[in-house]
């Protein structure tokens, strides 16, 4: 009798609850986007914000009752910034979850194998190249950061490869060593940089101080496609939580899966870092928080991380620009200062094995 009951209550996928959670988070995300766009040094009513956003959607006509400056603030200053924060958070969180799954290591984050150090070096070199400021809108720093991030991981990948296989431990070690080397160069350039030191160091702490729509158009497609693509590999990542040998014996093409996921996760991280700078904490903590609340199943962990990462970084960025105006706090400081206590609270509340 009791056994029968057990089978009935046995719902391993926990479909409904998790799907409802995803839907709720999606709604939350939209609400927070509107909220973040409305808030700032000049507060704009919710209704106005929504009207302005809706008026830009084709086939919807809304009479214009607001001032032109308000529209400029919403559409050209705040909107790209909020969207950029959202996709960056999504990218870092999903890449973090992927890296943690691939390396079977709870301490893994998207920066584990050199993206951040490569991007930092690239960005610093970008700062040092003396090109007229009108060129800045094309963002030499971002381009160099992107190239630097990908280049560093490519180097780590080539160094870590043993024959045809890619042992994860070798990869981590190669990443740590190369990262230290690149950081040394970056630090040297920083202390000898003189005037541009302030700009560089604030870039390194992360933030979206001069967002432009062009940044959005570049990052959104890369990160959206990359993140959704990673979500398709949820089951493979689940099975890879056994060791690689067992995953292979359960029918997963382990080497191919590792390669694909590493490339895609690195690509979206590099895209995120090149405009947002090196924002710490999101990539490591959001996946763990999701795991604590919804469990370790990667098929849900990945999409939930995307949504939570997005919401988290939008709110963190909102705090960064509103807490002590007109000064902006670097985003990396906000994410750690507000995120860490919340995470510790979750950790204390649930004492089961998380990883």
């Amino acid at each position: 009798m009791e056994e029968e009951k057990k089978i009935i209550t046995l719902n391993p996928v926990k479909w409904k609850g998790r799907v409802i959670s995803i839907a709720c988070l999606l709604v939350c995300l939209l609400v927070f986007i509107v909220f973040a766009v409305s808030s700032g040094s000049s507060s704009i009513p919710f209704a106005t914000t929504i009207s302005i956003i809706l008026s830009k959607i084709p086939f919807i006509s809304i009479p214009e009752t607001w001032q032109g400056t308000v529209e400029t603030v919403i559409l050209n200053i705040r909107m790209p910034r909020v969207i950029l924060a959202g996709v960056t958070g999504a990218a870092l969180a999903v890449a973090g979850a992927t890296y943690q799954g691939l390396f079977r290591n709870p301490l893994a984050d998207p920066y584990l194998i050199g993206v951040s150090q490569g991007a930092a070096l690239g960005a610093v070199i970008g700062f040092l190249i003396p090109i007229s400021s009108s060129f800045w809108s094309l963002n030499l720093v971002s381009i160099f950061a992107f190239i630097g991030g990908l280049g560093a991981v490519f180097l780590v990948y080539s160094l870590g490869k043993v024959g045809k296989s890619l042992p994860m431990t070798t990869l981590i070690l190669a990443g740590v060593a190369l990262g230290a080397f690149l950081s040394a160069i970056t630090s040297y350039l920083l202390i000898t940089s003189g005037e541009s030191f302030r700009g560089m160091s604030s870039w390194l702490l992360g933030g979206f101080s001069s967002p432009k729509w062009i940044h959005v158009w570049i990052t959104v497609p890369i990160i959206t496609l990359g993140s959704l693509f990673i979500c398709l590999y949820g089951r493979s990542l689940n099975v890879m939580q056994f060791d690689e040998e067992q995953a292979q014996q359960l029918g997963i093409n382990v080497e191919r899966t590792k390669r694909i996921l590493l490339v895609v996760a690195t690509l979206i991280t590099a895209a995120a870092v090149s405009f947002g700078g090196i924002i710490g904490f999101v990539g490591i903590i959001i996946p763990h928080a999701v795991r604590l609340i919804w469990g370790p199943d990667f098929r849900f962990l990945l999409p939930l991380s995307i949504l939570c990462g997005s919401i988290f970084l939008i709110l963190a960025d909102l705090l960064a620009r509103t807490v002590m105006p007109p000064t902006e706090i670097p985003l990396g400081i906000v994410t750690a200062f507000f995120g860490a206590p919340f995470f510790l609270y979750l950790l204390r509340r649930k004492k089961k094995a998380v990883f």
């Binding site: 689940n238 056994f242 067992q246 014996q249 359960l250 199943d297 098929r299 990883f355």
Partner: protein, 265 residues
Amino acid sequence: MQKLSLKNVTLGYGETIVLSGIDMDILSGELLGIVGPNGCGKSTLIKGITRVIPLKGGDIFLNDRSIAGISQNDIARTVAVVPQSASLPEAFTAFEIVLMGRTPHMKFLEYEGPKDIDIAVKAMKMTDTFHLVERRAGELSGGEKQRLTIARALAQQPKIILLDEPTSHLDINYQIETLELISVLCKKEGLAVLAALHDLNLAAQYCDRIIMLNKGRIFNEGTPYEVVTAVNVKQVYGADVCISSHPVNRLPVTLVTGNRGHNGN
């Protein structure tokens, strides 16, 4: 009728050759035991069959098709492995782990349906792990994990099952139950079974045929009577043992002689 054939197989890691010139057939309805000293290549053999490590020579045929041309997923639909002391992800529940045995049968983006749940529940009942369903793998004992790995392999609904020391963490009761279960599946469902075993007594009691490996080669092959002999054990393991015959079924029994004298003092 399922058949796994190894033809002149050489296996190893890097430059080191662990096994060479291995010829064997694993057939439906037969429980084949692999015995041999530590490091003789029992686990390597299982890794080679499932393509975890590449072949250095020879070929392996699954139903007369070379496994080199079969996808990893298709191999997993036919061949299941119970690894020696499997590492299980601690945060997953026992049921989720067994359900992952369904992986090779799932279509892209398909979720486990009632049929898969049913198969997993049956596999857990067969291995006496059903009471653990909602426990997390991190909370289980070595023996429970081992039985869970066997349940996962059964959920894979394989035609051929390879077991690497399936009884190493089990107490004597579960050793017997596990090997009983495997030999019943072998006879009733026509599974082909290859089991690497430490224990010569268990091998003699349950295996239809035994292959004794030594120094990377097949030393001897045949029925338990032919393989488990004092001369073979001395030559392969370097151990002096007495071989007696089991009082119930006359199969060979390996007896260890201690050095404490005749009275056991």
